[in-house]
Structure formats: structure tokens, C-alpha cells
């Protein structure tokens, strides 16, 4: 069975997922072989965490809850690293 992992995080930086954080998130996700998605808890489907354009479409403001999910051999590491980025407010809080 393919390893998978999920984690719920809250957007903490004041400006939300604007271009710079979206880029950081996508670039980080691209370092993993696993399929990674980001989903707003108030939406039905997630988007590809490796696509900046799709992340921007989430329009995630400060306080928005996200579910980061990954499926693949490095799923655990991918989710942990991406969740850490969001929790740290992309170092811009």
C-alpha cells in the first residue's frame, strides 16, 4: 500500500497565502516525489500543492484552515515540512 499522511494547519501570517508564500509552498512540495494536495477545510476538493497557480486559487487568508495531504514514499516528510512552513507563517508574521 502507498504510504499517505495528512495534517490540518491554520494559516497564521497576516497576509495569508499571497504570491510569495504560495511560491515557497509549491517549491517545497516539488522537492518530494509524493503527490501532495492542499485543501481548505471549507471546500470539497484539494489542489495540487506543487502548482503555484492552484495554491493562489485557494485565496487562503489568515485564519483559514488547510488540510495538507500526501501520498507516496516520502508522504510523511512532505506533510511535515509543508505544515511546518504554514505554522511558521512563512517567516513573515
Amino acid at each position: 500500500m502507498t504510504p499517505s499522511a495528512t495534517q490540518k494547519v491554520k494559516v497564521t501570517n497576516r497576509l495569508g497565502l499571497h504570491a510569495r508564500p504560495a511560491m515557497l509552498l509549491a517549491e517545497t512540495a516539488q522537492q518530494f516525489g509524493s503527490d501532495v494536495t492542499v485543501q481548505r477545510t471549507d471546500q470539497d476538493a484539494g489542489v495540487d500543492a506543487k502548482s503555484i497557480m492552484q495554491i493562489m486559487m485557494l485565496a487562503a487568508t489568515a485564519g483559514t484552515e488547510l488540510i495538507i495531504a500526501a501520498s507516496g514514499d516520502d508522504a510523511d516528510a512532505a506533510v511535515q515540512e509543508l505544515a511546518a512552513l504554514v505554522k511558521a507563517g512563512f517567516d513573515e508574521v
Binding site: L15, G16, H18, R20, I52, M53, Q54, M57, A60, T61
Partner: protein, 158 residues
């Protein structure tokens, strides 16, 4: 948020004659000045600020599009200008390819949620192959406006 609400119709240029990124940014700001949405006094500082932002990280997100942007205290609503550069222009894009369609966005500084909503609207369209293709092919302001209206009403089909 709808594209037709944020894009200033007088600030649409289907064939901008520019060769560099900085010229493109200046021309887009000029469109907004000429349309009366940005004051002449703000012209130079706005151009400088957008270029500074672009130097920190390209908004050429790939697939031939770029979304240079700026948050400013002196604007009260989100405004956008659109231009096509037929020959393409180097925006130091993430995929290394030239950029053909540019959305320039100016948002009020103290309202990050408005900025994100505008970005959602812009990327919701730019992420679609059909939208990007039609935008790049549009040769008149009217064609661009029609495309924006179609995108707002989700009438684009693959």
C-alpha cells in the same frame, strides 16, 4: 470577485510594443494613469515599487503569464491592467519561458483579503489553458473584455 470588476477597461492593451520587463511594467502603470485610476504623481513610485517586488521574486508563474502586483495605501479598491506582448518578454519566469500576457494588480495595502480574492479570480482564469490561449490571441480591447465576461460567468469550455 469578478475580473470585469477589477480590470480597468481603458487599461487593456492587446498589443503592447515593449521589449523588457521594466518597460512592460511602466507601460501597464501608464495605462492606469491614462485611464485616470492612478494619479500622475504616483506613476514613478508605483513603477519603482512593482519592479522592486518583481526583483524579490518573479511573478512570471509559468505558461506565458505574469502577474506583477503591488499593495498601496493610496488605492481604495483592487484595480488591474492587462497587456499582451506579441513577441514575448523576459520576466525571469519560473519556467524560463517568455511571457505573453501580463496582469498588473494594485490592491489596497491594509486589506490582504481583498488582494487574495483578486488573485483567486485572476489565477482561476489564468490556470485554464483555454483562457490563456484566448487572451494571448485577443487582438482588440473588446475581445479581451468579452473573454473576461465569459470567464466571470464560467462559460469557457475546454
Amino acid at each position: 470577485m469578478k475580473l470585469t470588476d477589477i480590470v480597468v477597461h481603458k487599461a487593456i492593451s492587446p498589443s503592447l510594443d515593449v521589449t523588457t520587463r521594466d518597460e512592460t511594467i511602466a507601460a501597464l502603470i501608464d495605462l492606469l494613469v491614462e485611464a485616470g485610476e492612478v494619479s500622475a504623481d504616483d506613476r514613478a513610485p508605483f513603477i519603482k515599487a512593482v519592479i522592486k517586488r518583481e526583483n524579490r521574486g518573479s511573478t512570471g508563474f509559468g505558461n506565458g503569464v505574469a502577474v506583477p502586483h503591488l499593495k498601496q495605501a493610496s488605492v481604495t479598491k483592487v484595480i488591474a491592467a492587462i497587456a499582451n506582448v506579441t513577441e514575448g518578454v523576459d520576466f525571469n519566469a519560473l519556467d524560463g519561458n517568455p511571457v505573453y500576457s501580463i496582469f498588473l494588480l494594485i490592491s489596497p495595502e491594509d486589506q490582504p483579503e481583498l488582494h487574495l480574492e483578486a488573485m483567486e479570480a485572476v489565477f482561476g482564469s489564468l490556470s485554464q489553458d483555454t483562457f490563456r490561449r484566448f487572451l494571448r490571441q485577443a487582438s482588440t480591447v473588446k475581445e479581451v473584455v468579452t473573454l473576461l465576461k465569459d470567464a466571470d460567468s464560467q462559460q469557457l469550455s475546454a
